[in-house]
């Protein structure tokens, strides 16, 4: 059993060869999942506080659609879900070794992601003009903090995605090593997942 041969054929997107059995995936993927665990707890603090405060003082919230713009945000939600699709298509292209589609799907994800942030920012501007500000009370405090930090996470995602897209255009990803695409994809889908929860419990309930 020559470990040299096994090492060469295993590739970097498999668990490390000359090590005890771990999680069964390569380091970068494991690292991202572990990091996402911390992100779950971060949003738990924010969203959990929202739930708790709303249960304590339900009368401080307006019915859905009264203050917040549900139609535009619904479109925005749809956009973000689309970006998850483009992201996963990019990953599939990377797996198949298709360079051009990989680059284009990644680019599409970046653009849609940036659009999402733009629409959110536009919405904030509109709401603030209407007088719905963070200091108005519990509704404003929780709304802006939750969606604001989600937007911040999306923005960081767009920056990382730009970096990955740039690398893709330079041909740095192959069918045997596209770790960056998978790992940034995991982060991006997580951000989408959080929004799925947020849209429902902030805008529709």
């Amino acid at each position: 059993m020559t470990h040299g041969a096994i090492a060469a054929s295993a590739g970097v997107m498999r668990p490390p060869v000359d090590r005890e059995a771990g999680a069964g995936v390569y380091n970068e993927k494991l690292g991202m999942w572990v990091f996402l665990g911390s992100e779950v707890m971060f949003f738990t603090a924010l969203i959990g506080s929202y739930i708790i405060l709303r249960v304590a003082h339900p009368e401080m919230w307006a019915p859905p659609g009264k203050v917040l713009n549900v139609p535009i945000t619904a479109v925005n939600t749809f956009l973000l879900i689309c970006s998850s699709v483009t992201m996963v298509k990019a990953f599939a292209s990377a797996q198949d070794g298709l360079q051009r589609p990989l680059c284009l799907w990644l680019l599409a994800t970046c653009i849609i992601g940036a659009t999402f942030v733009g629409v959110q920012a536009f919405e904030y501007h509109h709401l603030i003009e209407k007088g719905f500000v963070p200091s108005e009370g519990l509704y404003g405090s929780t709304f802006y903090t939750m969606t604001g930090f989600h937007g911040f996470h999306v923005s960081v995602g767009v920056i990382c995605l730009s970096f990955v897209t740039w690398k893709a255009f330079r041909g740095k990803y192959t069918s045997t090593d596209h770790r960056g695409v998978e790992v940034v994809g995991l982060y991006w889908h997580f951000v989408d997942l959080v929004w799925i929860i947020l849209f429902t419990i902030v805008y529709l309930i």
């Binding site: 090492a7 490390p16 090590r19 005890e20 380091n27 707890m41 924010l46 405060l53 200091s135 519990l138």
Partner: protein, 589 residues
């Protein structure tokens, strides 16, 4: 006469000379060993600073109204007037003593230093899974520390709402008189939180995925088990604190109302969020100490650790149960009493795994060939002091008792018995133990023993009487005890504690000098001065960049001391014994 590690499974050179310039090797280093040492130097400075703040507090408590000798004039008028510490500054001292000690001294000493230094070495890895993120983790902690220091110099003074920063006192500057200082406190801890989270996911990934062949889970040293579970606690608890502090920061700055009552905010929400983080935090502050103490006690007893599997299960038990006990910090907050009862039960339960560990340490030492080297002295006293701290914890767990002793010096005694008597003694043990590996020289054993005995005696003289003070009703964070008639008779005890504290602080000078001087003039250390079985002791002191020239193969657990299989009283994990197949994991013949 010991064979070195046999040929590894991959015959590549993993180690290489580090030819990069000085700045890349020692300042912006990605080598976990250098990063560990960087954390060590930073944390020791903050430990010293935290101690100095405590000395100022003890002067005020021991000699209220008496001007500070010599240094009184060095402080600005806003802090110290006519040599006397002002009440507002006293509140800042209390707050910053706790903040510096918890976040910038003990936590980085245990997790940042030993997590970084020991994990790759003890599991047979060349470095952490993500070396550059590791570097980022340290270089985020530095500005966090600098920012926290800067808070002393802003208008209004530093944060003064306690290290627990309860809202609404901390959220509204009209209540505390402090505005910028509280904001700085918040921002600094958010940055530090990010540093910790980056570190923790690195540690977890490394331990899960990068163990050398043969290093199965139940052959890992307890120090690594404890660091693993601690990293999970950091990963999941720190973000909750970050979230809570962000909400507090918004209450302070942009007018939100999370914790401010006028528009529906809930002060209790802050307490729940803080302590949901805060209780796992205290296990973060003790678990690595327990793990490293286990390694040292087994070594000093020349015996395997008693009940290795139950030690691991106890660590896991503490790690899991620790999430369900946070309310015991809030028994007097006005929270739902039924919820309180739930927390009382879970808190009483969590004493069980800790007790199991204590019995196992004693079982390890029983009939051992005990070597009272300096780390062993500290490690054994760690066990004894932790028992005292743990026992007082059982009193507090019972909420009817806590009604009486909450926020008194009984709590102060408890927390210092577990944090100083527990964590800090384990830290002294561990620094002394791994110093030769880090720096290639041994610390002076004679001065180490002098430091130990002086510290042990003065430490108990300072903190044991605090139990009495607390039971008599002496409150925490109290500026002038003599303003209360019922506390006046206890004032001599306060003075006694203060004098002991000054002597305790002075004794640490011995450790500091020993630490610094040994780097220059300490006896040169070979690879394995303690005759320990861990993988790091198979390497030169200090180990080369990349650690292992050949990936080690592990054949047994780390506690095979006094094994019948060999002549020596120690048997390294990676030593292959030709005449027998690899023994079963964790056990002896």
């Amino acid at each position: 006469m010991t064979e070195m590690a046999t040929r590894g499974t991959i015959a590549e050179q993993h180690t290489h000379r580090d030819d990069r310039p000085f700045i890349r090797r020692y300042i912006f280093s990605t080598d976990h060993k250098i990063i560990g040492i960087q954390f060590l130097l930073m944390s020791l400075l903050f430990l010293l600073l935290g101690g100095m703040l405590a000395m100022l507090m003890r002067w005020q408590l021991g000699f209220p109204g008496r001007p500070l000798p010599i240094i009184g004039s060095l402080f600005p008028e806003a802090m110290v007037q006519n040599g006397i510490v002002l009440p507002e500054f006293y509140d800042s001292l209390v707050t910053m003593h706790g903040t510096f000690m918890v976040f910038f001294a003990i936590m980085p000493l245990l997790v940042g230093v030993f997590g970084n230094y020991l994990i790759p070495l003890k599991i047979g890895a060349p470095d952490m899974a993500f070396p550059r993120i590791n570097m980022a983790s340290f270089w985020l902690a530095v500005p966090a520390g600098v920012l926290m220091l800067a808070g002393f110099f802003v208008e209004g003074g530093h944060a003064a709402a306690g290290w627990t920063s309860y809202a609404p006192l901390s959220a509204n500057s009209e209540y505390s008189g402090v505005s910028t200082g509280q904001i700085i406190w918040c921002i600094s801890l958010i940055v530090l939180g990010l540093s910790s989270i980056l570190g923790s996911f690195n540690y977890i990934t490394t331990i899960i995925n990068m163990r050398a062949p043969g290093m199965i889970w139940f052959r890992m040293p307890l120090s690594i088990w404890s660091l693993f579970i601690t990293a999970i606690l950091v990963l999941l608890a720190m973000p909750v604190l970050s979230g809570a502090i962000i909400m507090l920061l918004f209450d302070q700055t942009i007018g939100t109302h999370f914790f401010l009552p006028p528009k529906g905010g809930q002060p209790l929400l802050w307490q729940h969020l803080f302590w949901f983080f805060g209780h796992p935090e205290v296990y973060i502050l003790i678990l690595p100490a327990m793990g490293m103490a286990s390694d040292i006690i087994a070594n000093g007893s020349r015996k395997p650790i008693f009940g290795y599997v139950s030690m691991v299960l106890a660590l896991l038990g503490i790690g899991v149960l620790g999430w369900g006990v946070w309310g015991h910090h809030m028994f007097m907050s006005g929270m739902n009493p039924t919820l309180g009862t739930g927390f009382m039960i879970s808190t009483l339960l969590i004493s069980v795994p800790s007790a199991i560990k204590v019995f196992n340490w004693m079982g390890t030492m029983w009939r051992g060939n005990i070597q009272f080297h300096v780390p062993m002295l500290h490690a054994v006293s760690f066990v004894a002091m932790f028992v005292i701290g743990g026992l007082s914890g059982v009193f507090m767990a019972a909420s009817p008792v806590d009604i009486y002793i909450h926020d008194t010096y009984f709590i102060v005694a408890h927390l210092h018995y577990v944090l100083f008597g527990g964590s800090l003694f384990a830290i002294f043990a561990s620094i002394t133990y791994w110093y030769p590996k880090m720096f290639g020289r041994l610390m002076s054993p004679r001065w180490g023993k002098v430091h130990f005995w002086l510290t042990f005696v003065f430490y108990n003289l300072v903190f044991f009487p605090m139990h009495q003070l607390g039971l008599h009703g002496h409150m925490r964070r109290l500026y002038d005890p003599t303003q209360y008639e019922f506390l006046k008779p206890l004032q001599p005890l306060n003075t006694f504690i203060s004098i002991s504290a000054f002597l305790l602080f002075a004794s640490q000078l011995i450790f500091a000098v020993n630490f610094i001087a040994s780097w220059f003039t300490g006896a040169k250390a070979g690879p394995n001065p303690w005759h320990d079985n861990g993988l790091e002791w198979t390497l030169p002191s200090p180990p080369p960049h990349g650690n292992f020239a050949v990936t080690p193969t592990v054949y047994r657990g780390p506690y095979e001391y006094s094994s019948p299989l060999v002549e020596e009283d120690w048997l390294p994990q990676d030593r292959r014994l030709d005449r027998s197949p690899a023994p079963a994991p964790g056990g002896h013949r």
